[in-house]
């Protein structure tokens, strides 16, 4: 099967932050052929090059999102009118839309016309970009700003939009131009995503735009994987910019409408945890097409520790993570004070380093609190004082790897007040340790019944849970074994890759791409594209291109991927 994998700021770039799971996916599914379509965020990222690529990657096309041509050469009269129509429709859809109605079935009918307008405008702009080019210039032009103004002043616009001033209009136009840059790419054409059997986008939002266009123009089924929810990230990011209410309202409407359109067109949408799922449902995703695919962790580094539960120090609690205020270490210290009163031999090791000035300040604060709660206690007049709480750096001499840190404790504690998907907790489970965690984020979903869960910001509950486990080795062992079994079953790389493989097969089975091949007379040629073409693997012969894995990106690709570079993209220059 030929999979077009669209990534943003991730695989195959070396510095991609979300590249790891894509890399494991591509490496794990050798039976499929992958075309990588990568959007890069910064010039630096592009300069740093690519990771080594496995042979199943047939081609790589990249495009920068951080720049666009500065050309202001305008459209002709007819193209300008077409652009004004599409953009005006987009603006009208945005100023009247409200994200509150995204998932409300009672108001679905009114919402549908909005969504239709938005979709029509989006594909209209894409068609214009395909026919005429020069879309970025047009999106920044006066035509666009005027269309926005007209929409904001029109009756029926939401109140925030009506207050938009000229700088707000310019800000919205600039943001839309940046967000809609993928529309100008030619990836969705017959020789690009149009030739794939399936388009898999590694994120939602604007990253999914190439996939949407392939779905629209060539009817390629779309699989969207969202680890974060783009609309939610947009809200959190826009809250800090201090932009005017009109700008935030219009942009929120844009991202909401885009998310709804992606969810509606996608064959399947996957998420990593129930929290993301709730947001997706809230944004209008159909429940029947949502799938949970848990993130996969590499279990190998934790095998040794996980198979030897007896190495744990029976009196030690361990906290591992990045030190920041959201981790609520102060609660943990207060809880440990109570534990220490009940069990004087108990010790607490906090393994983690602080990042950023906030983290450093918080770490200092925690150390001060610890020093106040637990003054060094010397057993005799000539012995050195000992403190039951120790702070250690990640990768320090006492615990060079995370596995060593987990191995040192018999109970692993997580005291966060805010948490997404707690990867540290999964690591602790893989190590076969009993866990006590606060009920935040996806913790309950991860831990299931294999650990104790207490409310956040509640030192007393935390202390009781820890004390219970420290006092009961048998139960600790039972929970640890169950945790390891659960983690191995749900949160491994193999599980992740197998889940995506299953989804690929499901999508291709349900909505195969029907390609009509015409003969010379222009008549459809029956059986020219046989159904067996969708069988996994290369049944017709050797794969066409077997690129050699190498570092160095662009310079390399020019030689070994001849023909892979398409017009309009920056690949392989």
């Amino acid at each position: 099967m030929r999979v077009g994998l669209v990534t943003e700021s991730g695989y195959p770039y070396v510095s991609g932050d979300a590249g790891l799971w894509c890399e494991r996916l591509v490496h794990g599914l050798g039976q499929h052929e992958f075309d990588l379509y990568a959007l890069s965020r910064t010039r630096q990222q592009e300069d740093e090059g690519w990771r080594p690529l496995p042979p199943q990657v047939a081609r790589v096309r990249t495009a920068p999102l951080w720049t666009s041509d500065e050309d202001r050469a305008g459209y002709g009269r007819r193209a300008r009118r077409r652009f004004a129509e599409c953009y005006g429709e987009l603006a009208a859809a945005l100023v009247t839309a409200s994200n509150a109605q995204l998932a409300d079935p009672a108001r679905r009918t009114g919402r549908d016309t909005q969504a239709d307008r938005f979709a029509r405008a989006l594909y209209g702009l894409a068609e214009l970009a395909r026919d005429e080019g020069g879309l970025p210039g047009a999106l920044r032009s006066d035509t666009a700003v005027r269309a926005l103004e007209r929409a904001c002043r029109a009756p029926g616009a939401q109140r925030a939009a009506r207050q938009a001033r000229v700088p707000d209009l310019l800000a919205v136009a600039a943001h839309l131009e940046r967000a809609l840059r993928p529309l100008s790419l030619d990836w969705h054409e017959e020789d690009g995503l149009g030739a794939a059997d399936l388009c898999h986008t590694a994120a939602g939002g604007t990253t999914a735009l190439p996939g949407l266009l392939a779905r629209h123009f060539c009817d390629i089924p779309l699989l969207v994987t969202e680890h974060g929810v783009p609309l939610r990230s947009h809200y959190l990011a826009s809250g800090t910019t201090g932009a005017a209410p009109a700008v935030r309202a219009l942009l929120a409407a844009f991202h909401g409408a885009l998310a709804a359109e992606v969810y509606q067109r996608a064959a399947l949408v996957t998420h990593g945890n129930a929290h993301a799922r709730r947001w997706q449902e809230r944004c209008g995703a159909d429940r029947a097409r949502l799938r949970t695919v848990h993130p996969g962790m590499d279990a190998a580094p934790f095998t040794e520790v996980g198979e030897a539960p007896q190495t744990a120090d029976p009196d030690t609690l361990v906290w591992v993570g990045r030190v920041e205020p959201a981790k609520d270490l102060v609660s943990l210290l207060h809880a440990f004070a109570q534990v220490h009163t009940a069990l004087p031999h108990a010790r607490l090791r906090i393994v983690g380093s602080a990042t950023g000035p906030d983290g450093a300040a918080y770490l200092a604060h925690c150390k001060a609190v610890a020093a106040q709660l637990f003054p060094d206690e010397a057993t005799g007049p000539h012995t050195a004082g000992e403190n039951p709480v120790s702070f250690e750096e990640t990768g320090g001499p006492e615990a060079p790897t995370p596995a060593d840190a987990y191995a040192a404790g018999s109970v692993i504690v997580l005291s966060s007040v805010v948490e997404g998907f707690p990867l540290g907790l999964v690591e602790a489970m893989l190590c076969g340790r009993a866990t006590v965690s606060t009920d935040v984020g996806a913790v309950v979903e991860v831990v299931g019944g294999t650990g104790l869960v207490v409310p956040p910001r509640n030192p007393r509950a935390l202390a009781q849970a820890c004390a219970t486990l420290l006092a009961d080795p048998e139960r600790r062992a039972r929970l640890g074994a169950a945790a390891r079994a659960r983690a191995l079953e749900l949160f491994t790389v193999e599980q992740n890759v197998a889940a995506f493989h299953g989804l690929y097969l499901e999508i291709v089975a349900q909505s195969p791409v029907r390609r009509v091949v015409l003969d010379r007379a222009g008549e459809p040629l029956p059986f020219a594209a046989p159904a067996e073409a969708h069988v996994a693997g290369h049944w017709t012969g050797a794969p066409a291109a077997t690129p050699r894995a190498a570092r160095g990106g662009p310079a390399w690709a020019a030689t070994s991927l001849a023909g892979a570079a398409g017009a309009g993209t920056e690949a392989a220059r």
Binding site: R72, Q163, L236, A274, G441, T450, V453, T468, R475, R486
Partner: protein, 450 residues
Amino acid sequence: MTEPRGGRPRQEPVLDGARSVSTSASAAASAAAADCVAAKDTTAAGASTSVRASSGAAGSALAEASASAGGSSRAAVAAPRAGADPVKVLMRRHRDLCEHAVDPLEIAAGLEAHGVTDRTAARFRHRDVFSLAEEMYARIARDTETAPYPRPADEPRTGLVPFLLALLPGALCAAGLAGLRLTEGRTRLTVAAAAVLAVALAVRAVLRRGPLATGVRRPSGDRAPGARPPGTRAWTYWLVGYAALGDGLLDAAVGGGPDGLPDGTATGPWPLAAAPVLALALACAPAVLTAHLFAVRARRRLTASRGLDEFAASVRPLLLGLFALFLGALAALLAGCGAVLHEPAGQAQVLALGALLLLARLLTVHGFTHAPAVALGTAAAAEATAQASVFAGRLPGCDALAVPVDTVVTAWGPGGVPALACGAAALALLVHATRNLSRASAHARTEGQR
């Protein structure tokens, strides 16, 4: 105590213990049971995952696990603590978030970032964070009239350096002209070449930074090269060169000359007009000032105006006023230079050229590169054609070619040709600029440069 919607058990704020759901069965069996619970969790969206106190009694864990997995109702101990209206307390705590939110989902996102979960929302008798956020959004007292408009970020401070730099071309040009007057022969040639090079570099520096610079400033600090149609720079050199030497050549050509190469004096067979060049070099300073004033004032009007038409109406007089100011400054400079250098200053053509160059640069700075290139190219080509037609008129049988230029020269002198060419181009650019520079989108890029 009233049960929350959906008949779900109500969770009290403070729990005094922890719950264990583990069993004494083998690890695998336990994991399977855990899966069952997890599946329940995902489908019931956090409804059945509330944590019950069991006072650390491990023995009752199994029974509790089954109760939890079954999602059956449990005895819930009610302890209303936050008064009659807990949501109000929450709203007070997140007042900033509520007041700035543009829709309920934004409040939901903000609440989640502060650690509010569906379990917390249940405490406020809501099914999930979304419905809690909807209530909060609906209850915000919004008085739009008093909502202050967020002030735009401070205008970028243009340091003194660009303005001092703008004086450099004039100073260098004056020094070069003094050198030309004081030297003779080969030395004069060297001095002339050095002066031309120095002035060109100085002008380049002026155009690289400050209000006359093009290109978008990237966050990293370096400027991306703005789109520049090839030839703009060459046309500019040609036009300035013509201002210095063209009139003399045309005058000589019409009279049958020239009889020799320019020797750097105003009295030679091919006279050099130094005053226009000096005036143009000195005019860099008013040009920088004009561009700076235009950018700053336009930005101020941008933030102040409510509509695009209002903005356009307020920027047009600004542009025309600043343009007139520049022309006045250039005329004064020209008169001064003519007086100092004892040259008859050809006013019209230099004014036209100065206007053309300023408008071309303004348009380029604001992202319109096509029209300036065309205008500059047309003017330069017109001047070249005029010269060529005079020389072509000397060929046998081609007398008619020289007639138009002859007529112009007889009527207005040799300065009439560049005045007409540059004047027409400048006029076209002025019309173009009043249309395009009064659009808000032309100033969006300068907005983005912050």
